[in-house]
């Protein structure tokens, strides 16, 4: 019996701490849950609005169907993948005819001053109106000019957008 007692006396403090910690965390999660959801949603709506202003969206599976005056004009979806030093998350707008409307970088952790320039309009505007097949760097036979000194980031985001766009096109 003393063996059991010993085991209990050792494990009970840890169990108690775990339970208290679990409760505290659940509580703080509840406190911040709404706020975090709002923040995340705002990010999505902001990025959707920047790609298709004056449109409404309907969530369809993994992407959003874009409606203007009740008419389907295209799709918007999130593409994410590994950049130079972290995950790049991009909102992509695709017209039904298979050309891109625009892209908007939701989050990235690239090198400030170098890779972060992928969020600048000078770079992202290049994507507008391009066909999916042309979404490669120019040196690789595509139509996207990479940012000088940040080829890796430029290539990463181009690849991320293209791969995801191909998947979405096949789904719709």
């Amino acid at each position: 019996m003393s063996e059991l007692k010993r085991i209990l006396s050792i494990s009970i403090p840890l169990i108690l701490i775990c339970i208290i910690s679990g409760a505290t965390l659940a509580l703080s999660f509840d406190l911040t849950k709404e706020r975090i959801r709002e923040v995340e949603e705002r990010k999505i709506t902001e990025s959707l609005a920047s790609i298709f202003p004056d449109a409404s969206f309907r969530k369809t599976g993994e992407y959003y169907t874009v409606l203007v005056n009740g008419e389907e004009i295209g799709y918007a979806f999130l593409a994410e993948g590994q950049g130079y030093s972290g995950t790049i998350k991009t909102m992509v707008g695709l017209y039904q005819n298979g050309t891109l409307s625009h892209i908007y970088v939701v989050s990235q952790l690239e090198t400030p001053g170098l890779g972060t320039r992928i969020i600048e309009p000078e770079f992202t505007n290049q994507f507008s109106g391009k066909r999916i097949e042309d979404l490669r760097l120019r040196r690789e036979g595509g139509l996207i000019d990479s940012i000088t000194g940040a080829t890796i980031s430029s290539r990463a985001i181009t690849e991320i957008v293209r791969t995801r766009a191909e998947v979405i096109r096949n789904e719709t």
């Binding site: 775990c18 910690s21 679990g22 965390l25 659940a26 999660f29 590994q82 130079y84 030093s85 972290g86 995950t87 080829t151 890796i152 290539r155």
Partner: protein, 192 residues
């Protein structure tokens, strides 16, 4: 399916945990004075990283995800890692005293090695599968060991050099790390 070779090369060279992600710096500078201890630490880290990746993946996928409590990942992961390391230490101590003498002393250092928790979090961020995670854990450990071994070789040679007084000890170690990181930029952008 993950490209396992790409994961391995990425974690060993391109996104080396020490020289690129800045994880595991304390043991990197602490245990790199001698090649023999660097190797011992490296082996221990490879072992723990691989196991930690293998254990935390099912914990996350089957315990945290279904109940929508992903926010508890930090707590559960670190608890799992800490308990696991302590268990391994006890087992080795009992059954393999000679192994304990050579590797065991590094095990307690590993619990608080940010590279171990780091690799499990990176696995999540990259959404690797179980096998991908294990490969990533293993190769991250190898990358750590590689950096540690190179550093220890450099520092052993520096023992004999007339390093200026102000640079003796840690400053020159940091400079060596800086130059090593410069050299490791070679692997930037490797694609498989």
């Amino acid at each position: 399916m993950d490209n396992l070779l790409a994961i391995a090369v990425g974690s060993i060279f391109v996104h080396n945990f020490v020289l690129f992600r800045f994880l595991g710096l304390c043991p990197f500078f602490g245990v790199s004075k001698k090649t023999s201890s660097a190797l011992g630490m490296g082996v221990a880290v490879v072992f723990v990283m691989t196991c930690a990746s293998a254990i935390t993946w099912p914990v996350y996928t089957y315990l945290l995800l279904p109940y929508e409590i992903e926010f508890m990942r930090t707590v559960t992961f670190i608890l799992v890692i800490a308990a696991f390391v302590q268990l391994v230490e006890m087992v080795i101590r009992k059954h393999q005293p000679s192994l304990y003498k050579s590797l065991g002393i590094y095990l307690p250092l590993i619990t608080t090695n940010c590279a171990v928790l780091g690799v499990t979090l990176v696995n999540l961020e990259q959404r690797y599968s179980l096998i991908g995670s294990v490969v990533d854990g293993f190769s991250a450990g190898i990358g750590f060991t590689l950096a540690l071994l190179l550093m220890s070789g450099i520092r052993e040679r520096l023992e004999l050099a007339h390093v200026p007084h102000s640079f003796k000890g840690l400053p020159i170690a940091f400079i060596s790390a800086a130059l090593l990181a410069l050299a490791f930029m070679a692997f930037t952008g490797i694609r498989l």
